[in-house]
């Protein structure tokens, strides 16, 4: 039986520590519900960008784990990011891929290649330090602490069913620019008495 995305997200939420989370598409509504106060930035409106956004944060903040919650259709839109991430080699990046074989948000049309696309092999070939394929929740829960501690970039292909909600069924969300602003404000504490916003 395929893993429920919500169960996987609950497991990640329980063990993420101070990790910064970058969910996208069908992981986004559930993650907001499961971890509403989390330090996270959601990618919706520029499908495919989660892995690269996560890379940027990981490079900027090597002291924090960055967890990307990607989708298979999304990753196909910036598949080259596997090579870019491997080339930049962030030790603190864990790239989770929720593989369901469809573009769930737009009506569950099949992705090119469907479930036969082997993303873990592509990530390994690109140069990720560690890759894993997991299709069982108990196995995932058991291995997750090691995956979160491992030297990155780490790629974890998760075989899941469809999420209960999508960005099309849950439209209320914090605007992207506000999420970026909030995340930046949490990561960059201002000097006492200084303005609230830093401009590097």
């Amino acid at each position: 039986m395929l893993m429920k995305p919500e169960d996987v997200l609950h497991a990640i939420a329980e063990r993420r520590g101070e990790g910064i989370v970058v969910p996208t598409m069908t992981t986004a509504p559930a993650w907001r519900r499961i971890a509403p106060d989390d330090l996270s930035v959601t990618c919706v409106g520029f499908m495919g960008g989660a892995s690269s956004l996560g890379l940027g944060i990981a490079l900027a903040r090597p002291d924090r784990r960055v967890l990307v919650l990607d989708g298979d259709g999304s990753l196909l839109m910036q598949l080259g990011s596997l090579a870019t991430i491997a080339g930049a080699a962030p030790r603190n990046l864990v790239h989770f891929l929720f593989k369901n074989g469809v573009y769930h948000t737009s009506g569950a049309q099949g992705i090119p290649g469907g479930l036969s696309v082997d993303f873990a092999t592509m990530a390994r070939g690109a140069g990720y330090r560690l890759t894993a394929v997991i299709d069982d929740l108990a196995d995932f829960t058991r291995r997750l602490p090691d995956l979160l501690r491992a030297e990155g970039p780490v790629f974890v292909e998760l075989h899941t069913g469809l999420a209960e909600q999508t960005p099309m069924t849950v439209r209320e969300r914090t605007p992207f620019h506000q999420q970026l602003h909030d995340a930046r404000a949490k990561l960059l504490r201002p000097h006492p008495g200084a303005g609230a916003t830093a401009h590097a």
Binding site: V41, G45, F46, G48, G49, S52, L53, G54, L55, G56, I57, A58, L59, A60, R61, P62, D63, Q78, G80, S81, A83, T84, G87, A88, P175, F176, H177, L180, H181, A183, R184, L187, L188, R189, P190, H191, P192, A194, G195, T197, A198, H199, A200
Partner: protein, 186 residues
Amino acid sequence: MPESIPASLVIETLKDTFREARAALAAEVAEPAMHTHLGWILSVPDTHQKTVLAALDKEESIRVVTCATEDEAVCIAAGLHVGGEPVVLMIQHAGLYASVNTLRGVAMDGRVPVFYMIGLLNREKDKDPRESRHSMVRYCEPLLDTFGVPHARLEGPNDVHLIPEYYRLSRARRGPTAVLVGLETS
């Protein structure tokens, strides 16, 4: 129009731009800097800026990340911005066209100060770029105008002051700005 822009001049200007950005951040933020280098270049290789990119390979004070696409470069820039890191994108006009949705969805809607240096490959020295016979040159400024992205032409050594000016402008307006590199660096 001059023959070229020295790569060393561009790199020294980038260093000064990054130093200024780091100083501005240090004045506002309590935490010590995470990195010892000055800033980041995100590049998708560009013919006009190839000597700058080659020289940057040997430059330890600036870290270069070569990206597979311009979409990635803009998203990575947004992530670096979240973490307080100064960053410049070096791409080619064709890459701007290829990444318009990310320009809109990330740099504009995300209010991310993305500063682009865009090489205008095939820009004719005796023609205004808007009248170029090459569509890749001709449409660049009108595209930026359509999206309301401030831009300027970098067409000789005397124009390098545009780099810090448009970098600062991207921070001030919290959105993208660009300088168009109209001739090859040397």
